[in-house]
């Protein structure tokens, strides 16, 4: 199962974080710095596996436990980015920051309690689009 999902920029600041397993709040920053360091230097020692992908100025890192299929998660990250791309039409890190709530909604549509539930772009974005339409009208 997926343990956490992070989006981090090159300077090491966390832009988005979502945990599917309880981690103490103070421990989180520690974990994130460790994770980022690992990604930047490519070593993994802890009891979860890290799968990450780099996109321009930021990294998306997913921590999973042993039983998860790594390639599937790898592609899942890409799927997620494509969904964001479609919604924001050319996603930029800045947009992520200003629309954190929407990103959370998207991520929630895709992953629940550590398991991937929905991967179809149209279906994921459907509720969000409805929301937008309702707020405009």
């Amino acid at each position: 199962m997926i343990k956490f999902f992070l989006m981090v920029n090159k300077q090491g600041q966390t832009r988005l974080s979502k945990y599917y397993e309880h981690v103490d709040i103070n421990k989180r920053t520690l974990l994130e710095t460790e994770v980022i360091k690992s990604c930047l230097s490519r070593s993994n020692e802890q009891d979860f596996k890290l799968i990450y992908r780099q996109y321009a100025a930021s990294f998306i890192v997913v921590g999973v436990n042993d039983t998860e299929n790594e390639m599937a998660i790898y592609e899942f990250i890409h799927n997620f980015v494509e969904v964001l791309d479609e919604y924001f039409s050319r996603v930029v890190s800045l947009m992520i920051m200003f629309n954190l709530d929407k990103i959370h909604i998207i991520l929630d549509e895709m992953v629940l309690n550590g398991c991937i539930v929905e991967t179809n772009r149209a279906r994921i974005l459907a509720p969000l689009l409805i929301l937008d339409k309702m707020s405009e009208s």
Binding site: T67, E75, D101, H104, I105, V117, T119
Partner: protein, 881 residues
């Protein structure tokens, strides 16, 4: 306030966020957030009803501030009440922002606030729509952990909806969600979800064989529904291969299609395509490994896999081996290694080790070691293989591997000579790895005498061989070699002077390393001072190791997940019974002793009753068994007054206070199993002064001596502090039936006086009584069999205690007999049966107790196959009532 324009709420949020972003320091951020929170608080406290938007915006701000600062106040909980609101948009926002961000993040805060859950869960349970089921499938189990009834009801509702989902064809996404839920549930209760297997297989086949246009929505870079396929395959891994042949055929087809597809030229150049394809492929391979199918099918798969990896090669093994050389991606190679590990046999294990990647070499070494042990029919082959392993990949051979080979060599007598010879030959190679020196040193030290007869491997040559490597080795190895040298001194007296010279040399005695120096000095002294007998005892051959769960397996498990290793471990455990070829006969009692933990002694003599009651001082390292049948001249005090009563009390029970006077309290706790028993004696010093020279001794009279064996396992500290309690363990074995009881004599000095206390230890024949249930016919049949007048003893006596049925029953059960109901036609009578276990024989006993309430008397009839036993048991039992 009510007139707020539509975009306003969100704009406020955007302002808030950019403010935070512009904050220069953490304090500034916190200040800004607090300001916003104050704003929110005021809004909520406001008299006017808030409309949807501002509620939303405040909720959004709350959650943003939460995610930025991660602190939670009570105020932020209020928006949860929005759940009860009817408008969908509000529900949406709150659902996403709150339940997911807050609830998952900080579960400790949740527990004290169950009332907040209430409305949320209520709404879920009542609405229970498919979408909600999907959405909450994750959250609810978490809440369930906290144990709330409502959450349980929700979950129940979800089960039902999920099953419907599975049957329904349409919404793939829902199926995905449902599959996850079912997988987790299946891991907990596999039985209930068995039907899902066939559904999963049909789903999977539909996906895999679909044309590209069917599942357009879910096709990702030309791979149909990769994540769902992965999930379904994972679900199938929870179960053994399906029994129904139709289902099994379908599944096989599916897997073949997946493998075939993997071979086809890729439909797209993009890396995403191949990644997705590989994802499904890996999961399929895991499933295959898990199912562990017949060899034929597996070869075919392997062939396909090999082709996939290498694009065209004939021989199946070579495929995979070459693949390991050529495949760039480490993870693919890893999977290939896993596959081979799962289905490998003796012939080819080492060959691919030579080609393996450095990063996974150690793991491969471990796996090879385990495989070698698993497939070793003939242990000479095993020794060869491990030595080869060390030769090829010496650096990567971890400690556990060579410990294990030594354990095996020591445990198996037949392979010791062969091991010594092989090791000797291996050491002659000019450049041998340090691990080989370690193994060689140890084995020659133990078993060098087995090859000493051969002139080529005479003791001196052995010594020279080892010593030639001495200076090339690291400190731990050198330490081991020093130990080997002293063992040589014991085994081969002719090399003693040579070795003594070596030990005497300055480089040892003044060695910089403390351990080496210590060893050299001690061994030198030992060799000069000790007589040959003592030397022989000290340096006696190592006894066989008790069987433990292989530490190699433990190490491997630590590295990888448990899944790949478990079935091997099981088969390995079966095999390892053979490994410990020790001579100890597994007594019949082992079957009764069920200690399920894997680290238990395979000989079954685990934590509970005593081990070496039988062969005491055989192996040199065995525990100290102090035989306490005292010939000492110490005066045995007469039995302390009152001990008779206590003794009688202990016939039917095992724990309690045996004896007490002003100074000393003796408590007892005993357990018995068949013919063995263990007694924990607790001596309590009731005074505030210490007891000196405290010596308890166990005395068995001459009649008693051959029939019962009692050992005190460890002497007690002779000084007992005031107010302290010390414990002593006595192991007892019943050799044959007996009538007297052993006496515990305690002597100590208190103040200036000399104290001497004796108590009878309540070890009675009935302690070795094991209850036997039987039906009434069996009972009467046996009763008739024991009709010989000597075998029956009857006693009619007056009841000493009030005649209470329950108490009587308890006493009979405490006595050790099984209480048989509905056997005697008279329901007021008590009938019992059991077996007395002794080392030599087992004596069946039947008893019947008939109470006469008016006369307050009992008639007790006992029938056993041995007269003395009947007599004794009758005595004992009569005293109880």
């Amino acid at each position: 306030m009510p007139a707020v324009s539509k975009g306003d709420g969100m704009r406020g949020l955007a302002v808030f966020i950019s403010d935070i972003r512009n904050c220069k320091s953490k304090e500034a951020e916190i200040k800004r957030i607090n300001k916003e929170l104050a704003n929110i608080r005021s809004k909520f406290k406001g008299k006017y009803a808030l409309d949807g938007y501002s509620k939303k915006s405040t909720s959004a701000s709350c959650s943003s501030s939460f995610s930025l600062v991660m602190t939670l106040t009570l105020d932020t909980w209020r928006p949860v009440n929005l759940l009860s609101s009817n408008r969908y948009t509000e529900k949406q926002i709150v659902r996403h922002l709150f339940i997911s961000v807050l609830v998952n993040s900080n579960s400790e805060l949740i527990r004290p606030q169950p009332h907040l859950h209430g409305p949320g869960l209520h709404c879920i349970a009542s609405v229970g729509s498919r979408e909600m089921a999907e959405a909450f499938a994750g959250e609810i189990p978490k809440v369930l952990v906290a144990g709330y009834v409502r959450a349980a009801l929700c979950l129940l509702r979800l089960y039902r909806t999920c099953f419907d989902c599975c049957v329904c064809v349409f919404f793939q996404g829902v199926v995905t969600a449902a599959t996850s839920l079912i997988t987790t549930l299946a891991q907990k209760n596999p039985e209930e979800f068995k039907t899902s297997v066939s559904l999963a297989v049909s789903r999977l086949s539909r996906i895999v064989t679909s044309a590209s246009t069917d599942l357009q929505d879910y096709t990702y870079y030309f791979v149909p529904a990769p994540w769902l396929s992965v999930k379904l395959l994972r679900l199938l891994q929870c179960y053994p291969p399906p029994e129904d042949p139709a289902v099994r055929g379908r599944l096989t087809e599916c897997l073949e299609t997946i493998l075939n597809k993997a071979q086809e030229p890729p439909k797209s150049k993009k890396v995403q395509h191949s990644n997705a394809k590989n994802a499904v492929l890996f999961e399929a391979i895991s499933l295959i490994i898990h199912h562990d199918r017949c060899v034929g099918c597996l070869w075919r798969r392997l062939h396909l896999l090999g082709q996939f990896l290498q694009h065209g090669c004939q021989d199946t093994h070579r495929d995979v081996i070459n693949a390991l050389k050529t495949e760039r991606d480490v993870s693919v190679r890893q999977r290939a290694v896993d596959l081979l590990y799962a289905m490998c046999d003796r012939s080819n294990m080492l060959s691919y080790l030579e080609t393996a990647d450095y990063s996974i070499r150690e793991e491969i070494v471990l796996k090879v070691a385990i495989l070698a042990e698993k497939y070793a029919v003939d242990y000479t082959w095993y020794v060869d293989t491990i030595l080869n392993l060390i030769r090829i990949a010496g650096d990567y051979v971890s400690e556990e591997v060579w410990y294990r080979v030594i354990q095996i060599v020591i445990n198996r007598d037949d392979v010791q000579g062969y091991a010594a010879k092989t090791v000797f030959e291996a050491l002659q190679a000019p450049a041998c790895h340090e691990n080989l020196v370690k193994v060689g040193g140890y084995i020659l030290g133990e078993f060098g005498n087995l090859i000493a007869g051969d002139p080529r491997s005479s003791p001196l040559i052995q010594f020279n061989l080892l010593h030639s490597k001495f200076h090339l080795c690291s400190v731990p190895t050198r330490a081991l070699l020093l130990s080997t040298y002293i063992k040589f001194v014991n085994l081969f007296p002719e090399v003693k002077p040579t070795i003594q010279d070596v030990l005497r040399s300055d480089s040892q005695l003044r060695n910089a390393d403390v351990e080496l120096q210590q060893r050299a000095v001690e061994y030198l002294r030992l060799s000069t001072v000790a007589s040959t007998d003592i030397l022989a005892t000290v340096l006696e051959e190592m006894p066989p190791f008790p069987e433990r769960e292989s530490s190699i397996l433990a190490k491997l498990k630590k590295k990888k997940g448990p899944s790949t290793v478990t079935d091997l471990e099981d088969t390995k455990r079966e095999r390892s019974v053979d490994v410990n070829g020790g001579p100890e006969p597994a007594p019949a009692s082992t079957s009764a002793m069920s200690t399920p933990s894997p680290s238990a002694d395979l000989l079954g003599l685990g934590a509970a009753p005593p081990a070496p009651a039988g062969p005491p001082p055989s192996s040199g390292g065995g525990g100290l068994l102090v035989d306490v049948f005292s010939d000492s001249a110490s005066v045995v005090a007469p039995l302390a007054p009152g001990s008779e009563d206590n003794f009688a009390r202990f016939v039917c029970k095992n724990n309690g206070v045996l004896f007490e006077n002003q100074l000393l309290q003796i408590g007892l706790k005993s357990e018995f199993r068949q013919n063995l028993g263990r007694m924990f004696i607790f001596y309590g010093n009731k005074t505030s002064t210490q007891f000196l020279n405290f010596t308890p001794t166990l005395i068995c009279s001459d009649d008693l001596q051959p029939n019962i064996l009692g050992f005190i396992t460890k002497p007690v500290d002779p000084t007992v502090e005031g107010g302290a309690q010390v414990q002593q363990v006595v192991n007892i074995e019943c050799v044959s039936d007996f009538t007297e009881a052993p006496v515990l004599n305690i002597q100590f000095r208190y103040g200036g006086t000399f104290q001497n206390v004796s108590v009878q230890l309540p070890i009675t024949l009935n302690k070795f009584f094991q209850p036997t249930e039987m039906a009434s016919q069996d009972f009467f049949q046996r009763w008739k069999q024991l009709s010989n007048p000597q075998q029956e003893v009857q006693n009619i006596f007056k009841a000493k205690h009030p005649m209470d049925t329950e108490v009587t029953k308890a006493k009979i059960i405490g006595f050790g007999s099984a209480l048989l109901e509905e056997v005697d036609p008279n329901p007021a009578n008590f009938v019992g049966a059991g077996i007395i276990h002794t080392k030599t024989t087992q004596i069946g006993c039947l008893l019947r107790l008939e109470p006469n309430l008016q006369a307050q008397m009992y008639r007790l009839t006992l029938r056993t196959s041995k007269e003395a036993v009947s007599q004794r048991l009758c005595e004992l039992l009569s005293a109880q009532f």
